[in-house]
């Protein structure tokens, strides 16, 4: 890997400068504040970009132009929408459970924040390199449903309640598949740390090295995680043609924006994990062959951050493609799909992968 693209040089430099100025405690606090601010800015920015991207992509799928009035190519449209939502009056419905009603959007928003904390987007561009990163993310990402459930319950609206219950039933089931698909890959990587998983793919991405089980695991992960983010054909928690807006029917203004944004940031998290597990995160495209050294070297000249975000974009595009093509499933079909198809397939795939790993039959 080309060292010039490593962000740890930059972050390390800042750390040393700060250490020279103040006490270690103060350094820690300052760094935390800086990182927190950066993270919030990053999430807000990503949210805006992704919302715009979704609208543009959807428009192109649908033979439309999409937003094109505010800013060049409509690029400021989502910012304008966000400002509009920000200035709207905050309304708490009369019969809502006030505390929970106001709490729900924050819980929903908190999850992707926590998950983003351990995701490396580029060499060195990672807030915290936990040695149980994968475990942490799976644990944290199941919290999001809590917000949806609370929001659906506290709104005191029957549509919201149905949406919340649907979401709970769905996410609880699909957690299994997501985790199993991740575990399948962890067998190969032999590590739970995300940066080590990436490092293990320096000679080729797992989707290439891992044979068919890796491909199946990728498809299973993609399906299950789409469901987990309440998107695409699995968006029946909102199910706009059935439940008007599902769990966030009663939310407006910035609280609605939180729900809305969290969906997109969740998508980013999910896509990043997929990228890390199957496409080597920021790792350039390498071929695991002797003769490919020159090729691998050329690939190294493309910065890791480009690789990282490029691959994330690709996975997100796939998810958008699903969303704008497929009709929505019914709740019992969703659970059928999980328990009768995804889960058994995942288990078999898991075994297969274990066999492959044991026999050392991978490149």
């Amino acid at each position: 890997m080309n060292a010039i693209y490593d962000f740890s040089i930059l972050t390390g430099g800042i750390h040393e400068r700060l250490s020279g100025l103040m006490s270690p405690t103060a350094v820690m606090i300052t760094e935390m504040v800086i990182i927190g601010t950066l993270l919030i800015v990053f999430v807000a920015l990503m949210g805006l970009v992704l919302v715009l991207a979704e609208r543009k992509v959807a428009a192109f799928f649908q033979l439309r132009l999409g937003p094109n009035r505010v800013g060049p190519w409509g690029s400021l449209q989502t910012l304008a929408d966000f400002l509009k939502l920000l200035t709207k009056e905050l309304i708490t419905t009369k019969s809502a459970d006030k505390f929970l009603y106001n709490l729900a959007p924050f819980i929903v928003m908190l999850t992707p924040f926590l998950a983003l904390g351990v995701i490396p987007f580029a060499p060195g561009l990672q807030i915290m390199d936990m040695n149980i990163g994968v475990f942490f993310i799976t644990a944290v990402s199941s919290m999001g449903v809590l917000g949806i459930l609370i929001g659906g319950w506290a709104s005191n609206n029957k549509y919201s309640l149905i949406g919340g219950m649907r979401s709970a039933a769905m996410v609880v089931s699909y957690e299994l598949s997501v985790t199993l698909a991740i575990m399948t890959m962890v067998i190969m990587t032999e590590s739970l740390s995300l940066s080590e998983i990436i490092a293990s793919q320096s000679d080729g991405w797992w989707i290439i090295k891992g044979h068919i089980p890796a491909l199946i695991a990728f498809l299973l992960y993609l399906t299950a995680s789409t469901a987990e983010t309440n998107r695409g054909p699995f968006d029946l928690a909102e199910a706009e043609s059935e439940l008007t807006a599902g769990f966030h029917t009663e939310y407006g203004g910035i609280k609605f924006a939180f729900f809305f944004l969290s969906e997109f940031v969740n998508m980013l998290v999910v896509a990043s994990i997929a990228t890390i597990l199957f496409f080597g995160g920021w790792m350039p495209f390498h071929l695991p062959f002797e003769w490919a050294v020159g090729f691998n070297h050329i690939m190294d000249f493309i910065p890791g951050i480009v690789w990282g975000f490029g691959k994330v974009t690709f996975v997100i595009f796939l998810m958008m493609w699903f969303r704008w093509t497929f009709p929505r499933l019914r709740i019992d079909q969703i659970l059928n799909l999980e328990w009768k198809y995804l889960l058994p397939m995942n288990l078999v795939n898991f075994l297969l992968m274990a066999l492959i790993a044991l026999s050392g039959f991978y490149l």
Partner: protein, 372 residues
């Protein structure tokens, strides 16, 4: 089918108001649902939110003027509604319209039917969660609307028929445009199958949902594609041919399953039939006058008159009691939407909320048609 109203485990049923403002009731229809969890126990349609008393208004209008009111009933079958009244007056006065008018009316009817089914297909996809279909359907429907606009001067509420003929002659471009549209649409219609009809999610969601037996279809008076999907041979174009339907070859789509998927399929097949009807007629539109000689003031003889036509939604009947004046004494429209809605409760009991949406879209309800 008839689910028990009290569940065994003692859970409580609850009511949900679906509508009058709801994305999938397509207008201001209010459904009061009795639910047990997600299972529907009862559906009670409350109608009348767009009631404009068209029947009463028609009593004060001359026969020429009534036609423009029928535009606003089932606005997606505006031409067929117009035609019903025009045919009624012509039959009552025993006026023979020219062949040209007959063929024009038939082509226009089929174009309207196509447009209506296209819109329905798009909305159906949207109700099922696939929003993209809506835009694709509108792309194709736009072509028909443009053709309509060119000849009749309006896109939706055409008011093209008058007793004795049609208002304008065909636009010189008409034949060319229609042929071009048919050519394009023949390539686009398979896309409809690829996007929805074949899609596993879609078939899973519609097959076996909302089964309507033949006996029920007849006793509820469900007509149109919805009735024919249950095997009810109710196509007025076949049973009582009007205009030029007796001189074209087309098959009446009859399916046996009677579920939501069959109703869906019936409409897709009907689109192909409509294309074939237009294909047969478009090249030989006979010459002739577009207006039969009529008295300036149309007065129907004393008596009762009934005329039915096949709109995109089913059988539209117009019943007029005349006392010999220039305005009718009483007008009654037998609108297909009303009868089709009546079956909703019967076929959606025991299904889930998501199924209700699917069933409603396959019944293809247009609320102004129900309320009038």
């Amino acid at each position: 089918m008839q689910a028990e109203l009290i569940s065994k485990d003692g859970t409580q049923e609850y009511f949900v108001n679906m509508g009058p403002q709801h994305p999938s009731t397509h207008g201001v229809l209010r459904l009061v649902l009795t639910l047990d969890g997600e299972i529907i126990k009862r559906v009670e349609p409350h109608i009348g939110y767009v009631h404009r008393s068209i029947e009463k208004m028609a009593e004060f209008d001359t026969y020429k003027q009534i036609i423009h009111l029928t535009d606003r009933m089932d606005y997606l079958s505006a031409h067929m509604n117009n035609e019903a009244v025009a045919l009624l007056v012509e039959n009552a006065l025993e006026i023979e319209v020219s062949d040209r008018v007959k063929v024009i009316r038939t082509i226009m009817s089929e174009l309207t039917r196509l447009a209506s089914h296209q819109l329905w297909w798009g909305v159906m996809g949207m109700d099922m969660g696939a929003i993209t279909t809506f835009l694709y359907a509108f792309r194709d429907r736009e072509m028909i609307n443009d053709i309509m606009e060119e000849t009749t001067g309006a896109r939706l509420t055409m008011n093209y028929n008058t007793p004795g003929g049609v208002m304008f002659d065909l636009h010189p471009n008409f034949q060319k445009q229609v042929k071009e549209f048919i050519k394009i649409f023949k390539t686009k219609l398979p896309e409809y199958d690829e996007l929805l009809s074949g899609n596993i999610i879609f078939t899973e969601r519609t097959k076996g949902i909302g089964k309507l037996s033949l006996a029920d279809a007849i006793s509820f008076g469900v007509t149109g594609p919805s009735g024919r999907a249950s095997g009810f041979a109710c196509d007025v174009r076949k049973t009582n041919p009007y205009s030029a339907y007796d001189r074209v070859n087309f098959t009446e789509i009859l399916l046996v399953e009677g579920d939501a998927y069959a109703r869906y399929k019936a409409r897709i097949f009907e689109m192909w039939e409509s294309i074939s009807i237009i294909d047969q007629l478009i090249d030989n539109i006979p010459e002739g006058v577009i207006m039969a000689p009529m008295k300036a003031i149309v007065k129907l003889p004393k008596g009762e008159f009934y005329q039915r036509v096949e709109t995109a939604r089913g059988e539209l009947g117009v019943f007029v009691v005349s006392d010999g004046n220039k305005t009718p004494y009483r007008v009654k429209f037998r609108s297909p939407g009303f009868s089709n809605l009546s079956v909703l409760d019967h076929i959606s009991r025991g299904h889930k909320i998501a199924d209700l949406v699917a069933i409603m879209s396959t019944l293809d309800l247009v609320i102004p048609d129900i309320d009038r």
